[in-house]
Each structure stands twice: as structure tokens, then as C-alpha cells.
Subunit: 117 residues, 2 copies
């Protein structure tokens, strides 16, 4: 991360942070009924992705807007694209996708964010 300091209006010191941070988010809906044991097993399994090296600020969330049909959200951050690539290729991530994601997710959308500079 690079921080640039500059003199703003009325000479007040301001700063811009230049960062390579990537926030990887996925919003999804499961094939399982709400509050079922299968749903719990899936959510336990997805939570363990937080232990993969490079994963920061991991969050498993409820999606609550009625403007869409998704039920859950996953959000995690990587310091740079390198950590994100390593996560995608990590055996624990690949195993989770094969064992749980491919068969238990009814619908999903992937949204990745970077700072707008």
C-alpha cells in the first residue's frame, strides 16, 4: 500500500491510499431448506475457508434485501491479486468447491471489488 499526502483546501493535509486490496464477494442461495441440518453442514464447511492463507476480513452474512432472491453472502479480502490466485488454487478451496459448492448451491453471483482511485 502507498499513501500519498497532499495539501487540500485551506492547506489542510489530506491523504490518498493506493492499495491493491481485492474484496471477493459471492452472494448465493442453497438447494437446502432453511434451518435444515444440510444447510448447517454447508455453512460450517464454507466458514472453514477463512483458514486458507491470505484470507482477511472473512464474513459469512445473511442477504436480507427483497430486491433479489439470494439468501447468503460471503465476503473476504486479499492484500493483492497474488493472494487471491493462491486462494483459488488452494487444495482446501478446490475440495470445498467440488464437495459442497457444485452440488449444494442453487444460484450465485460473484462480485469482486477494488478501491476506486
Amino acid at each position: 500500500m502507498i499513501i500519498i499526502y497532499f495539501s487540500g483546501p485551506e492547506g489542510i493535509l489530506q491523504s490518498i491510499k493506493i492499495t491493491d486490496m481485492i474484496r471477493h464477494t459471492v452472494v448465493f442461495k442453497l438447494v437446502h431448506p432453511k434451518s435444515s441440518p444440510e444447510e448447517k453442514l454447508f455453512l460450517d464447511a464454507i466458514s472453514k475457508l477463512s483458514a486458507i492463507p491470505g484470507v482477511e476480513n472473512f464474513e459469512l452474512l445473511k442477504q436480507i434485501s427483497r430486491e433479489n432472491n439470494y439468501d447468503y453472502g460471503l465476503s473476504m479480502e486479499f492484500a493483492t491479486a497474488k493472494e487471491y490466485e493462491d486462494y483459488n488454487r488452494h487444495p482446501d478451496h478446490i475440495r470445498f468447491v467440488e464437495t459442497f459448492w457444485k452440488t449444494e448451491v442453487a444460484d450465485f453471483l460473484e462480485l469482486d471489488y477494488a478501491p476506486l482511485i
Copy 2:
């Protein structure tokens, strides 16, 4: 927010935070060409929503995944549903929606998140 403390494995004190936090996010695409003056005017206008009372952790982001067709993301948090409602009804928000959002946004999706407890 309520914090519940309990005795975890080996008697270590653990805590669960019960919060009403809502993260309101919108991912969108503009009608304007990239790097155009019209795009800049829109992004300047949307940035000013951060000044509406109750808005916390305001972020304007680039959407960078090729798995979807959106270009920008907006993320903000509210302490409770009350602050979110007040934001939606705030004259500055309504004016922004009427003046910019309705005519300059080509496509969007709203996703709102709450902690998964």
C-alpha cells in the same frame, strides 16, 4: 448491540456480538462511457451520499470480476434498520435518485447484508 460472554473450551472467556448492523450494497453500471466527464459528475454526486446522517463505512468501489457485467459498487452500513429507513427517506437521497440514478444507471442490483448469527 448486545454482547454475550460465555465460557468456551478450556474455560476461556468467549463472546458473541448480536448486532442489528445492516450493510447496504448496490452494484451498478452507468450509461456513460468510461472516464467521461458525465461519469465523473455521477461519481462525485454519489460520493456525497456519505454525508447523510446514519451512513457509516461508506465505500465507492470498482467492480473487477469478469463473471458479471457491473462496473461499480457502493457499500455503506447502518447501525439499525431505523437509520437505513431514515437514509432512504432523506431529501438528499431522494434528490440524488431523481436527478442522477433514474436516468444515468443502465443496470444495477441491490444486496443488503446482516450478520449471520
